[in-house]
Amino acid sequence: MDLLKEFWIREEECYSWGVFFAVVGLVLSFFATLWHFWFAFRHKRRCEMLLGIMGAASFWNVFIYFLIFTGLVRLVPDIYNKGIPFHYLVAPCAYFFVLFSLFPKLNWPGHWWVHLLPFILGMIDIIPYAIASVEEKKALMDVIVHDMQMTVRHEYGFIDQKWHYINKFLLAFVYIVAQWRLLYMHDLELSPISASTKQNVFAFTIIYTLQLLLQGGMVLSLVFNQTQRSFILQNLDQLSWISFFFLLFSCWLLQNAFRLRAENANDQL
């Protein structure tokens, strides 16, 4: 507890809707993600596996942000920036989830591994921080928690760290367009899936799109107002909306778990 007190910063800001949404979303997404992994392994379901990966990456992203925001990341400096490669998986996972949900009979495309390239590049880029000394890591964390723009300005990486944000969202927008195309092209009359399944995928795409738009809005704010990067990254007005849509996504994930559970029970009957 003493350690928590020592490292905890922005205590006042923690009693805000933004942090509340984030914490509730983290709890919900944690359990929902675990359930999806369990379900996917048990029933060999690729859609649920994709959702599990996406949920885990999103959870990690928000969790690390939460630790930075509160200053607690200084307690565990090693875990910082490990999520970068996984962030690149969110958009492909969402896309393939929609693809295989709408067209369940499709096989994996021939060049599916291309979608993993950003993930691999992200893995390479976290090496400099991973091999830095503990003192260096602690020093960086000390700087970052007080000046959050340092998350994109530090030197521990082969590329300028801001490009992770930009690339991630550019790729995500490419995938989201493709995702909407899938929805458009899908013909329920010719498909074996039920209308409720399509509605579920549709709801997922809407929530994910809105979440992406808000996050993208924040990235654009950062790009166009670079002097205020530190402020924007901790601006609760902006973070509240992003947290809220993360909570919505977590809720969707949870309801999807319940829906699958019910479907599975019906199938067994």
């Binding site: 723009q149 927008f173 989201i176 367009v177 493709a178 909407w180 195309r181 458009y184 092209m185 013909d187 009359e189 799109t209 738009l213 808000l214 993208g216 809005g217 924040m218 654009l220 704010s221 166009f224 107002n225 002097t227 205020q228 990067r229 530190s230 402020f231 924007i232 601006n235 007005d237 902006q238 909306w241």
Partner: protein, 978 residues
Amino acid sequence: MKHIILWLCLLLCGFAHVRGELPYRHVQVLKGVDDHHVMFTVAEKDPFGLIWLVSGGELYRYDGVHVVPFAKLYEEKLPFDEVQTIAIDPWGRIWLNTRNGMLVFDLTTWRFCFNEHFVEGLTEKKALEFCQAENGFFVATQSGEVWQIDEYRKTLLFSFTVDKRKGRHTVGNLFTADNDGLWLAVSGNLYGYDRHQKKHQVVHIPLEIDDCIEDLLPLKGGVLIRNYRDGYYIYDGSFRLTSIRSAKEHDFTNWNHWGFVEGNRVMLFNNHGQYMELARDTTLTVLKKGYHRLAEHVLYKRLNAWRQFGDEWLLATDQGLYAVFPSSFSFDYVEYGTARGMFRQNDSYYFGGYGFLHRMPLQGSVAEYRKAPEKNYYAAYTQHRDTAYVALESGFLGQMVKGRLSILQPIVSPQYAHKFSDLGYCLSPYKGTTLLVGTSNGIWQYDIKTNQVMPLLDIAGVFFSGGKRILSIRYLGGKLTYSTEDGYYLFDGSRHKKRYPEGKQQLMIYDHLTDQGVEYLATKGRGIVMLTDSGSRTISMQEGLGSNTIYQLFAVQGTLFAGTHRGLSLITDSRIFNYRTNDGLPFEEFNHQAIFYDTAANRLFMGGIGGYVFFNPSDLLKAATQKDAIPEPRIAALHVGLKGNRYKHYYAADLLRDTIVLTEDALTFNMDFARPDFYRHGYDVLYKIDPLMDGFQQMASSGQITLVGLRPGEYKVHVRILPNNGGVEKTWTWLLKKQPTFFETQGFYALVLLSITGIITLIVLQRAKRIKDEKLLRKQISRDLHDEVGGLLTGISMQADLLLLDSARDKQSSATSIGQYSREAVQMMDDIIWAIDARNNDQGNLQERMEYLASQMLEPQGIRLLFDTSTKTDRKIPQVVRQNTYLLFKEILHNISKHARAEWVSISIHIDTKSLVMEVRNNGAQNLPRENTRRKGHGTRNMETRARQMNGNLSSVQENGEYRVLLTVNLRNIKWTI
């Protein structure tokens, strides 16, 4: 000329004594409100450190930078015409005594108070006097009332009688208070009020006291009354003249006497150099008595009012506003002109410079020493108590023995004669009986015994310092160090080496010394450079040094004394203290080689452009570490430029708090920082704006920070006060929040992204639409073929099968059916092909085709055909509409021809830009055969499906013997469904 020289002399003398005989400084705070208006009636300081002035009946505010008329600061119409005097209460409210009564202006809310309880009723009255004690603010009105003012209320203490024929304006106070009571002398009466018992008393002041009454000083148990003619009277139930009385008339006028109360003491000063400290009670016991020293020049101004604020007095005069305050250290000063090297010989100090030497006995004053010739005495070295050597700038070297100076004529070897320079700038003892003299051309070695001089050579016999102007030399531990105009060098007896700066870089170094293993260099432009084994470090103005040009250095026990271009800097324990004129220094610019430490007397002499100051280094260090409180920076005004060429100005203390919110339409933003007490030059102001600036920088003399084109977000304005003398720097921060316009919000950016993504998605979907349309077309063709042609072909197939059967009864009928089905199939194929052919999307094709079809199907059955078409647009009909309309029309005709037995059919088609409306009526609606119901039901469903496919509306109604089918298609909202 009542209040001239002597009054102020005494005032200054008084301060000098009270503050441990520290000399007082006076500065002109303001010359005038402008160049042509220099008279001030009164000046007051508000709790925020700003000065309020009355001049020419107008009220002004001085924030340390600008003098601004109140009329300009207050945007509404002023409720007064003329201000006579002002007072400021402890809650930040200005009490204005105007020609038409009192007004109270609240600095916190920036508005006048009229209806508040503490002022209600007072605004109609004029003030006679204001006074303050530690815990109260009091107003005596001309209507004869004394009020105690609190933060939220007022209390009437007592009433008194005013006789307007009596009374005169005094510089001293005739209304005074302490924590026990109040005293008011008015109209020949003395009013006393006991604040504990809340009772007042009145007594008539004898005429001989009242006629020359000038000041009241509150005592415990009474009041001290200054009568400028007789001296001090005391009233403690009765009036009596105290022992403090005039030896001759008018000894106690404002210009030859001054007295005030401080704590439990009464301080009195007179123009005979005497001072007294008395107990502040009716016994007036003398606590201390002595002489004071006038340490300042006087002000030849007429005094209108004085006010005390902390350790400072503000003097409002006819020729400017002055502040008098104690300096932070008492430097002894030897004033004789530009100083150079000095030395002590026996009981006298000899000061070098240009012209005659100056001599000052240990006890006595400085005077020209004419026994020595006029020379440029540049640097000195004391060899013995009665022998000293002086480096002469022209003349090389002089020897002073027991006050007798002889100019040495050194013998120069012919081989070095052409290099010899007699411009000596520094000297140092060297090996044996030799001296080293730094000249404009290197270092020369002078042998006292032989009177011979030769250049200092290295092991190779090279005159290594030749061509260099030598500025300082020190020989210590067998090593010679010296500085020149291009750097600092070390000579170890055999070879020399440049120590600083490295390489070919040049830096003028005036002086150098070594203390506790660290070498200090006094540089021109780079401050003090410290050389240690681990490298070099610089102490410059950035770290708080007075100047980056250092002329002289002295070190004792880790404390460094540096004579700079801007005052004296003292560096100790990583802290830097600076002394300038307002800290007691008589001058600020020190000189090269003008430094001397008298070990016997423990005096450090540091010389500059006006002579020498001297002091005990420990005393200065002690005084430096007893730092004074530094003023808090204040925002005096905020100016915000808004869109539409609008401006807003904020002055209220309430609005100038730590957090300032700028609206989204703010374009420019100015913060006017006040500089309280800046006239005392006690501090520097630096500022930094996060995240726009990386480091602190000096605030402009205007005190203004201007921000233009601020992006939305948070900015922290840090203002750092850097005390020049003794204080630890302190930083204050204001948070500035700039609200975003809609176009700068996250929401807007999200909308931009949505638009971009939407457009890209639309383009992608448009491309996908082609694929989907093809799919749709294929699906529709297959459905049509299946529905329309498939049935016919099945019929043909069945009839053909019948023909093959021997049992077929009517082969001719089957053949006829096959023929009929085949024709229908051909017709159907033709229709389908026509329908999917995009070339038929032109206007008129649909109507022509429909008219042709109707005539083909109905006229052979004798059904009269009425066809009416109208087209009000040139646009092509969308294929899905044309295709489905045509097939739907065909279905309708088919139903009529097969089942309706109609006599006539009326068809109307109207197409415009918005819609397509088709109406088919016939009169064969009655008596439909029951066996056809199923076929009819199938046909209707088929038609409804087609209507739905183009998002059309199909209705059929049977009334008055007519059957009517109406198709309406909204051409602007065609739905592409299958």
